[in-house]
């Protein structure tokens, strides 16, 4: 398990934290008259956990779709590790290390949990898949897949059909599939979507473990407790534009953000309280601030 974590972080930790691993440059996406992404710009530094927040309909998922390659932007550019990836297909981006998870769980429901992860391992290999060697005897793929299952805590479920898992477990599997693709930057589209408090807590723990290994994360999430607990920096998306980027403290105190996103003062105060509670919950819950890590 530790080895798998090490592998995941190897690419990320070898880079300077100040370097932008992902650069979203004035991205534009229109659907008819609606401009879903309106010259959005964003930088995700290597090794950081970057949260993308915004009210419903702000265009967060649309932006994730464009970064992952599911949607082609109408304007602007995407640079991953200094390379222009705007024209690359989704599989090409995945092989480069730009991997996403889905807001709506996307797993192979009829296959076993272990099948799911083995398929993810086989899919991400850059070489053409063998026609001849039995996949079931592919020890390297199985070793990888079992490590990923251990990482997300689903080892005991390996033989179950994925569709029969509880919702929270399916979300963990979703994360395992993304991790199996060996991301250098992981786009997490609402990993806590539809989860109960216990399940959310477990997911936060999992993401904290990834963060501790300095895997670069771009996290879209509605759960503000989780966002302020995990994120080194936060970007706020409103109507397809990034209106502010900063540390959680800066974002909390940003007047424009409060007005556009957090709503009235009272609600903002509630959010701040929730965050303080999260801080008090334990020193391990909140990892090192961004400036400390280098």
């Amino acid at each position: 398990m530790a080895e798998a974590l090490h592998d995941l972080s190897r690419a990320a930790s070898s880079r300077l934290p100040e370097l932008a691993l992902l650069q979203v440059h004035r991205l534009v996406k229109r659907f008819g008259a609606l401009t879903a992404t309106d010259e959005a710009s964003l930088e995700v530094r290597a090794g950081e956990t970057h949260a993308l927040i915004g009210p419903n309909g702000a265009g967060k998922t649309t932006l994730i779709h464009q970064i992952s390659g599911a949607l082609a932007p109408d304007g602007g550019g995407l640079f991953f590790d200094g390379e222009d990836v705007t024209a690359l297909s989704m599989p090409q981006r995945v092989c480069g290390g730009l991997v996403r998870s889905f807001q709506i769980t996307s797993i192979y429901r009829r296959f076993t949990v272990l099948d799911n992860v083995v398929l993810a391992v086989l899919a991400r290999r850059p070489v053409a898949p063998s026609w001849w060697r039995p996949a079931r005897a592919d020890e390297a793929a199985y070793a990888d897949a079992e490590a990923m299952l251990a990482l997300v805590g689903l080892t005991a479920m390996a033989d179950r059909a994925a569709g029969t898992l509880a919702h929270g477990e399916q979300r963990q599997l979703e994360l395992a599939l993304a991790l199996a693709a060996r991301p250098r930057l992981l786009l997490l589209d609402e990993p806590m979507a539809g989860m109960g408090p216990d399940e959310s807590a477990r997911m936060v723990e999992l993401l904290s473990a990834l963060k501790a290994q300095r895997l670069t994360l771009l996290l879209v999430e509605h759960d503000m407790d989780a966002v302020f607990r995990l994120a080194d920096r936060v970007s706020v998306l409103v109507s397809g534009r990034v209106i502010a980027t900063g540390t959680p403290d800066e974002i909390r105190n940003d007047a424009a953000v409060r007005q556009a996103y957090l709503g009235d003062e009272a609600e903002a105060a509630d959010r701040a309280d929730a965050m303080d509670a999260a801080d008090a919950a334990g020193p391990s819950a909140r990892s090192h601030p961004a400036k400390e890590g280098a």
Partner: protein, 344 residues
Amino acid sequence: MTEPITGPIIGPITEPVTTRHTLLHHRALGAWAWALLVALAALPPLLQALGLEFYTVVATRVLIFAIAAASLNLILGFGGLVSFGHAAFVGLGAYTVGVLADAGIGSAWIAWPAAMVVSGVAAAVIGAISLRTRGVYFIMITLAFAQMFHYLAVSLKAYGGDDGLPLAARSILSGLPLSLADDASFYWVALAVFALVFAGLRRLVNSPLGWLLQAARENETRVAATGGRVFAVQWTAFVVAGAIAGLAGALLANLNGLVSPHLMHWSQSGQLMVMVILGGAGALWGGPLGAVAFLLLEELLSGVTIHWQFALGAILLVVVLFAPRGLTGLVARRSARSKEAAHG
């Protein structure tokens, strides 16, 4: 699918704890496959002893359609791609043999691989275009291509046009001590080809390529999001299936002694689809079992009534309604139940 360990375990367990239960791996019959092969090989002398030589030809026909249906099952069953034009590849293979024989090239060593190449190339082109579409569009595009080849064959006056092209003799297998002119020998060759094709397809289905093909059937977006090249995987399977169908066509041309545009008619594609669905789409034995069931039913029912297709339709309806996983699904369910009963 490891059996549970019942005996004493000696030494440390180095195996992973999980039993690696997988739904992607498809088993053939194991050692029973060899027994089946021997039994099938014994069929011609048996039929001769019973004075039923005619059925050797029927059995050969079943084997050839088993090959064609197994190849369609690769893309339809394992790939989830409903191709409605598979007969085009069978027909192209048959025409390749016919045209080569017409030009004086009767060697099976040349004509049969040539049939596979021609059908494979056609599948490469058709696949490259049609695999960019999905659902009803995919069905319609594959159907349209097949009909195009059908009408092309009709228009080839030099090769008989609508009436087709008769073969003067069956292909020559030089170097082997058998002549395809002999029905029993031809049956054995068809059986050998079937066994090789089936073993190869089993290998392919259980390889990483085959697993990704099945994965794309279940959830294409997930394959792409983990870095899999869905198009390349499906295209490869499409070409392999086309080439194997071409080989079936080469055998069929020899069996019928005639190649005609009817081989590529859409109803022939439909017949192959019925075989696969009847036998069990996405099950290793689905194609062969469906071909056996379909052709035997045809043989039986057509002896009773000229409206045999009506009865066949009714049977197909029953299968789709009560055994959606086809005949292999029924067998699998039965064996699972008896296994459960045996374990208490």
